[in-house]
């Protein structure tokens, strides 16, 4: 038996089957605690430390309100788009938020697709354009846009607050990403409309 092996690759690698250590590990007996350890564990399972995975539930009125909001946003965007020839919209310069490379992180958790800085920069640009061009829009159009933007902002804030408590929650991340996309889409449509002459 080699007692003092030279330091080399072989001693970084898994042990050979015929190595005395392999044999010793193979014979290393499993043991069990002499006493039941559960009572000691149970005493320390404080209710305050109980795991509580965040569950998201909605009441019927909340669901109805959410549905109404979606319809309002979709209607507003559709109404705005319908009033604008597609060719004019398509030729307008657009500010596009850069999405991160993927929405996935390891383990399948979906994160929000837009980095905060990128999203905020895009929103700021679009809001500035919208502010400077808003005089060219019908006041009723401005009202619809602002109402929908406020609703989306509220959804973004709620999602962010919930994510503070549960940062890895896939649903919340996805919800936040969707809300951000909706805000950018609405702002793009609004600025395109205003830049093209509004009403």
């Amino acid at each position: 038996m080699t007692e003092q092996r030279p330091f080399g690759e072989s001693d970084h690698e898994p042990l050979a089957a015929d190595d005395m250590l392999s044999q010793a590990i193979g014979q290393w007996r499993e043991d069990t605690p002499a006493a039941d350890l559960w009572p000691g564990v149970a005493r320390r399972l404080d209710v305050r430390t109980a795991p509580r995975r965040t569950r998201i539930s909605f009441t019927l009125p909340q669901l109805a309100m959410a549905a109404s909001l979606l319809i309002a946003v979709a209607s507003g965007v559709t109404w705005l788009a319908a009033r604008q020839p597609l060719t004019a919209v398509d030729t307008q310069p657009m500010v596009v938020a850069q999405s991160e490379s993927t929405g996935e992180v390891e383990g399948g958790i979906v994160n929000a697709n837009f980095a905060d800085a990128q999203f905020n920069a895009a929103v700021t640009d679009l809001e500035q354009i919208l502010h400077s061009e808003r005089e060219r829009l019908d006041p009723r159009t401005v009202l619809v846009i602002e109402r929908n933007l406020n609703a989306i902002d509220a959804a973004i804030q709620e999602a962010r607050a919930a994510l503070n408590d549960d940062p890895a929650n896939a649903y919340l991340n996805s919800h936040l990403a969707d809300a951000r996309r909706r805000k950018l889409d609405l702002l793009r449509h609004a600025t395109n409309l205003a830049s093209a002459g509004g009403n």
Partner: protein, 174 residues
């Protein structure tokens, strides 16, 4: 153990968590015994399951629950070593000194009937941890380095020395 017990425990069901505990107790207890010795194994095992209860909400099912729990257990045990006054530098520096096999006594005065458990208890925490994680639990040096906050080269060096020391301690006289 039904998978549902992990889900129920995640939602705060202590009875389900007890079933989870009983299903995983043997592996966690033996991990603690091998890494920290029999005297500390009971308390460390309890610590691991209390920590698991506290962290269950973070288990997302990306790995098997057994893998997640094992990793958590290793972290709890390593933390214990450190809080016992074994700061990282000392954790490994002591190992270097204690494992200086070039000056180790020959085995004639050693108890040659000593089994691996007894032999490994003569190793310092750092070397014992590296040996158990690599040779018994199958971790890679990079993973061990991450867990201990050292380079994979240090992990390799520790393993080499731990193996040599253990061979000396286990050697049977002809």
């Amino acid at each position: 153990m039904p998978v549902n017990d992990v889900v129920l425990a995640t939602e705060g069901d202590a009875a389900a968590f007890e079933r989870v505990y009983r299903a995983h107790l043997p592996r966690i207890f033996n991990l603690a015994r091998r890494m920290a010795g029999p005297d500390a194994a009971d308390e460390l095992t309890q610590d691991v399951f209390v920590r698991a209860w506290q962290k269950l909400a973070l288990f997302r099912g990306e790995s098997s629950f057994a893998t997640w729990l094992h990793r958590l257990a290793v972290n709890v045990i390593i933390e214990r070593f450190r809080t016992l006054g074994t700061a990282r530098e000392r954790f490994l520096a002591d190992s270097e000194a204690a494992l200086d096999v070039a000056h180790a006594p020959r085995t004639k005065h050693l108890d040659l009937s000593m089994d691996l458990q007894a032999a490994i208890e003569q190793l310092p925490h750092g070397a014992r941890t590296v040996f158990v994680l690599h040779d018994v639990e199958g971790y890679k040096h990079e993973e061990i380095g991450d867990l201990l906050g050292v380079s994979s080269g240090t992990s390799k060096s520790q393993l080499h020395r731990a193996r040599q020391r253990l061979r000396v301690l286990l050697r049977k006289e002809a």
